[in-house]
Amino acid sequence: MSDAQRLSAAECLRGARIVFDRELESYFDSPIAYAYAAVFLVLSCTTFMNSFFLDGVVDMGPYFTALPFLLIPFVPAITMRAWAEEHAQHTFELLMTLPLHSLQVVLGKYLAALCFYAIVLAGSLPIVLMLLFLGDPDLGRICASYLGALLLGAFFLSFGLFASGLTRDQIVAFVLAALFGFFFVLSGHEKVVEVLDGLAPAYQPGTWLYETISVLPHYEAFGHGVIALADLLYFALMSGFFVSMNYLSLQRSKY
């Protein structure tokens, strides 16, 4: 029986925790993380405040509607350095020769990126306090929307890390992840669906993409306050798929 087969869930998490601690600390060791968080919060909050003042409704809907489009460039900015930086500092070899399974390393990096994203997302909580102060917002819907935003980030981070593992160049990793993001978000946009359906009316490719692959219909359900098992499964399976692909791409480097 090989080492890989013997790794228990508890051992897997113990190793992942060690990598997680280092990765999370590395985010806050760098001024880039603070700049990233500040720019993300300013952009997301100003987008929301604009519609808040124009519509005059005590509702966080516009914030969460804009989020997928903001994450297209912002998540790749988090993940692009994840593996490329290891190659640049030659620490990839160090990491891969420590007594840690590749899966532990991938999970540690993924969970640290997710934790960093969650911290940045939590920076929007003052908006909730402001809405509570000004009126009576639907808290259930807001909580569901935050869950959707967290799952959306988890999905984006999974393919962002996968893209970073495919190349040693941070810029290439950024562009690849942003292209993934565009594809998954825009394939759920009404106008894109119409255009794609118009290209091949017999096959309705736009509708097919919308119904099977696009992230928007699954994400938007959370915005309506609906937490459906199908949507939870979509995010879990898609994120799991890309995390697994990241793991497999690391294994490939041994041959």
């Binding site: 090989s2 280092r22 160090l94 420590l98």
Partner: protein
């Protein structure tokens, strides 16, 4: 402790290591010598489980490196030629991360850290960021990461790179002090390091092992009895390389 049997490693059409066999026993310090691109680093990468051999078998402490990579990694201390360090981290935090990843905790972790810090003489830079340390200190930090868990096998790729002459002497003393309990294999371009501390020499060129033995024995085999390692090395490499203008 280390057994390498008929190992070949290919990168596409390039054969970096070709049918190499050797062994290193406990208590031995073995120097791995060869020109640039000879296959030294590739061999160490395979021993460290970073890459798999294309053919042949490698075992460390009786464990196959492909079948039991995690168990092998617990038994080795490996310093790769690039001296891989997280530049933004503080030295003490970096060493703690490595020690935790190598399975140390509690008192064992504290003792391992204290021992590696003392052996490598890096007390003065513990609270500095790695990127603020000099080249020599960075190399010593790299060595500390390889020694923190007190492994029975040490694999060191160019371990004295960036050292000043005094640091080289100190390093040789450290290696000698460590050798009775473990198998040590180190690669280098510096013939003086090998002559000063290695019990045995492996000479590799173009992926093939040209010599394995003590310097005197290699010199006698090459029909230049009494010659030093430099002369033996040059003789073996030249007789297997086509002449260039």
């Amino acid at each position: 402790m280390i057994r390498v049997e008929s190992v070949t490693r290919r990168y596409g059409f390039l054969t970096a290591v070709d049918e190499v066999s050797f062994a290193v026993d406990q208590g031995e310090i073995v120097g791995f010598v060869g020109p640039n691109g000879a296959g030294k680093s590739t061999m160490l990468k395979m021993l460290s489980t970073f890459i798999h051999p294309t053919a042949g078998t490698i075992s460390v402490d009786g464990l196959d490196v492909v079948e039991h990579p995690l168990a092998v990694r617990r038994r080795i201390g490996y310093l790769s030629g690039d001296t891989p360090l997280y530049q933004e981290m503080r030295v003490d935090k970096f060493l703690r991360f490595i020690a935790r990843a190598r399975g140390l905790k509690g008192d064992a972790l504290q003792q391992g850290l204290a021992r590696a810090v003392e052996l490598c003489g890096i007390e003065d830079v513990l609270t500095q960021r790695v990127k603020e340390c000099s080249t020599g200190f960075r190399q010593r930090i790299g060595l500390a990461t390889a020694m923190v868990h007190d492994p029975p096998v040490l694999l060191l790729d160019e371990p004295t790179h960036g050292f000043d002459p005094l640091q080289v002497l100190a390093f040789r003393d450290t290696l000698r002090a460590l050798s009775p309990d473990r198998a040590i294999l180190f690669s280098t371009h510096i013939i003086g390091d090998v002559e000063a501390i290695a019990d045995r020499v492996l000479i590799i060129h173009q992926g093939r092992l040209l010599g394995d033995g003590r310097v005197e024995q290699l010199a006698a085999d090459a029909d230049i009895p009494g010659a030093g390692l430099e002369a033996v090395f040059a003789h073996l490499v030249r007789t297997t390389t086509p002449a260039h203008v």
